[in-house]
């Protein structure tokens, strides 16, 4: 009798355990981004947006009755740490990774994703290198060369034919990439680059000296490609020397929240291009904006909108085919996804086509230049 009693208890717990495992097992989604450090703002906004998207989806019952569990990893902006974090995520295993934020980290993480056959959907990595490749890397932001071309067109439209440029060699995959494309387009259209200055933010340079070496008097406008904190300090230095010269900045360098507050007036007449419309009246975006503001206490930034779109791309794929092993094929065949600001069309490699918006800072606020 004791034996049968023990067998009963063991089988009951085994059955319960089995049922519990299969039925309630959540879908694990990874997030890889630069959450801490000077570029942390992008990663924090991205993480917050993905957290919100996951919570919303779970509140609606998840996907096919399974909830989503978000596993967040911080790459601190370092390709090595990013690669390590990606290895940890694929070992979990996760069905997909929303990330990374920086192109340099993406470059280090993509081979790991390829090997493990885990899809990465980056909100902001925009290096040209990743375009038109049939791989496990997808993104919701257009590649750098399109931004660069846009910057060049904008500069010429504003009457700036002579430009002095300054860019950081950290996150070279972003800065050097975009600068090269800008230079090609700008000079081809008759523009002149009066100065090209590079610096390594890790070496803590004197930004005033860098600004002075730009020889602003010879230029109609300045182009700055750097991380948020450095970009603002550099802009402060430029403004000390010239209070009015237009400054063209990389989107990621300026689309920040706390930093903008600190930069104050110095940011006036900064021009930048963004792949999102922060004043969009799309119903989905307006609702997201309200919920985001309420939940996190700050309005969603560009990185937040893009990260929400990246999460939606993964969710759309899993809704269409819950088999994570086929996610790459599913995403390649999606065609369009419902982004926060409207439908996003993806080409066969999963690269999106978005509308780009030109912004100019004025009195601490962005205004859209039509």
């Amino acid at each position: 009798m004791l034996r049968s009693f023990v067998v009963f208890i063991l089988s009951a717990s085994a059955v319960c355990g089995f049922v519990g495992c299969t039925k309630n097992e959540p879908i694990r989604l990874g997030f890889l981004g630069t959450i801490t450090g000077k570029s942390g703002d992008l990663g924090v906004a991205g993480r917050d947006a993905v957290t919100l998207a996951v919570d919303e989806l779970n509140r609606q019952g998840g996907i096919n009755g399974r909830t989503i569990e978000l596993i967040v990893k911080d790459d601190t902006g370092s390709p090595e740490i990013g690669a390590q974090a990606m290895t940890e995520l694929v070992a979990v295993p996760v069905v997909a990774v929303v990330g990374s934020i920086a192109s340099t980290v993406a470059k280090a993480a993509i081979p790991i994703a390829e090997k493990a056959r885990v899809v990465m959907v980056s909100p902001t990595a925009s290096s040209n290198e990743f375009s038109n490749r049939d791989d496990y890397f997808f993104r919701v932001m257009e590649p750098n060369f399109l931004f660069a071309r846009h910057h060049a067109e904008t500069a010429l439209k504003l009457g700036a034919r002579r430009i002095a440029a300054l860019y950081d060699l950290q996150n070279r995959a972003y800065t050097a990439d975009i600068f090269a494309a800008f230079k090609e387009e700008f000079t081809r259209s008759g523009g002149v680059l009066t100065k090209e200055i590079t610096f390594d933010s890790a070496l803590k340079p004197s930004f005033l000296h860098l600004a002075e070496s730009l020889e602003l008097s010879k230029a109609d406008a300045v182009m700055v490609l750097a991380n948020s904190a450095d970009a603002i300090t550099i802009i402060q230095q430029i403004r000390k020397l010239n209070n009015t010269i237009p400054i063209i900045s990389g989107a990621c360098g300026i689309a920040q929240r706390d930093l903008v507050q600190q930069a104050g007036k110095s940011l006036d007449n900064i021009i930048f291009t963004m792949p999102v419309d922060l004043q969009s009246s799309a119903e989905k975006y307006v609702r997201f904006k309200e919920t985001f503001q309420k939940r996190f206490g700050y309005p969603p930034t560009m990185a937040a909108v893009l990260a929400a779109d990246a999460a939606e791309m993964v969710f759309s794929g899993l809704r269409k085919n819950p088999d994570a092993g086929k996610l790459k094929e599913t995403l390649s065949g999606l065609g369009t996804i419902q982004g926060l600001q409207g439908d996003l069309t993806l080409n066969k490699y999963g690269d999106p086509s978005r509308t780009l918006y030109i912004y100019r800072m004025k009195s601490g606020k962005e205004e859209v230049l039509r």
């Binding site: 004791l2 942390g40 703002d41 300090t233 600190q262 930069a263 939940r295 206490g297």
Partner: protein, 628 residues
Amino acid sequence: MKLNLKRLFFFNNLLTSLVPLLFVGIVSLVILKTYLQREMDQDLLLFARGTVSQITRFIKEPVDAVGFAFREMESGGDRDAILDRLIAAYPYFNSVFLLDVEGKVRHEGFKHDEGLSREDLLGMDLSDVAICKAALADNLVHWRESVSLATGEPVMTFCTSRGSGTILAEMHMHDLGQIINDANRGGIFRALVVDQAGRVIVHSDEAVVKRQENLSTLPIVRKALDGGEALGEFNFNGVGNRGATVKVPELGWVLVTYQDLDKMLAPYHAIRQIMLGGFVTAMLLALSLGRLATRSLRKPFDLLAEDARRVIREEYDTITPISSRIEEVELLSKTLRMMVETVRTRETQLNRTNDELLRAERELRELNLHLEKKVKERTEQLAQANHELVAVNDDLVERERSLENANHQLEAFAYSVSHDLRAPLRHASSFASILLEDHGSEMGDDARALMERILNGCRRMDELIAGILEFSRVTRQSLSRIPLDTTSLVKECLEELKDDLTGRQVELAISDLPESMADPLLLRQVWSNLLGNALKYTRKKETARIEAGSFEESGERVFYVKDNGAGFDSSHAEKLFGVFQRLHTQSEFEGTGVGLAIVANIIQRHGGRIWAKARPDEGATFFFTLPG
């Protein structure tokens, strides 16, 4: 499940040991948990309030220090040196900027090993920074949590303005984290601070702060941000915690003190483990005791079972007393032996009774045999009588058939005789008429009178034969019964008789008559004959009165025809319904004496009855019934 001793002992032991154990255990656990939680809540709140006081004191110090620096500057000291000293004296400052009236950095104290150089910082335009604007406007201290331009980490900044300028100071959060760590009572509690948006800005683990996690969705944080203190459970970094929240009044931040639920409930879990252990031990003990008790009971029970089997085999003398330490077993053995004795006595009695019963059975069997013989004889007699009865019955049936046959033959004979008689009668009648017409003049009066009498006799005979044929026709006619409107039928009959009414005074009283179930032709004949008779026998009355009607009697529907005619003596009434039977002479009233016989025959064939009541010269009434 069938119970056996082993299971009985197991469940008995289990119930008696486990139920009290479970009851006491569960109650103790509930009490313990409630107590632990209450104690913990009090401690958490006390710790939180104490820490908030320390934070309030802590943020006062840098403000005082800046105030001191202001005073030093106002007394003419070197501003850069004062700010550098300030940075050196209070390590929590990252930077202290002195802004001019335009909001530009004119002097600074800065930890230059963190990235930015003095020349970078001087001249920066911070006039648009919100807290600076506010401080310039009201000269009060304005706080804000922010992100360091140099490191990207969360920092606290405050701005205050005096006549000598405006100071914007940035402080790192490490010291605040240290305060919280120091306040921690022996590592029992942990604490963190969230800003007004719910973002973690102070935590003993700096990585948590750097991640800028947002806890605004936690109900206790939400409640504290709204102004109150709160207690509750929440999940943080994948660990279940119980915590208290208190708002830091000056900054609008919220301090969260919490403890790992597992640690907090460690005594509770320990007691639960002990209970579980006790539960398992009690179960094993119940099982062992059950086995032990079963084993000690098994042997005497086996012996008892063997004794019972001996009783079955009637080996009464081999049953011996069983000795056992269990009183009940000895009692059972003793009872078994007593039962054996009783069984033996009963058996002797039974044997005796059995012999008597056998004898009685034998007698009964003999009696039974005799009885069977008697019954057989009687049965044979009855069969014989029955046989004879059947023969008599057959004879009777045969006779009835012969009678019916004879009757039919008789009817056929009557018909053919009547029919055949008419021919010679007509010959006689015709010849007599010829004689009278052709040779009447040659005959004397007597001869003519005789010839007249011959003719009259022939006519009369023809009428009689016609009557016989009519009677015969009616009796042979087949019967088909249908529902009939009697009143209409009677009226139609009277219509046919209207010639007889000519020149006479006749009162006709025909009431509404019920429907009849009869053959239409035959019933018409009944009414026609009866009404015709009534008209005939009232002929001599000055005013004739004829009535046709019906009434209900003893559940039977009776029809009648009443007249005030010649009537007759009722004592001869039965004769009237025979063929050729008459109560009046031909000279009084003509007729053949067949009409009423026909009526009677039709009524009888319908299953009805007919009878008459009359008095001479007072009229007659004919009644008949027709079954529905």
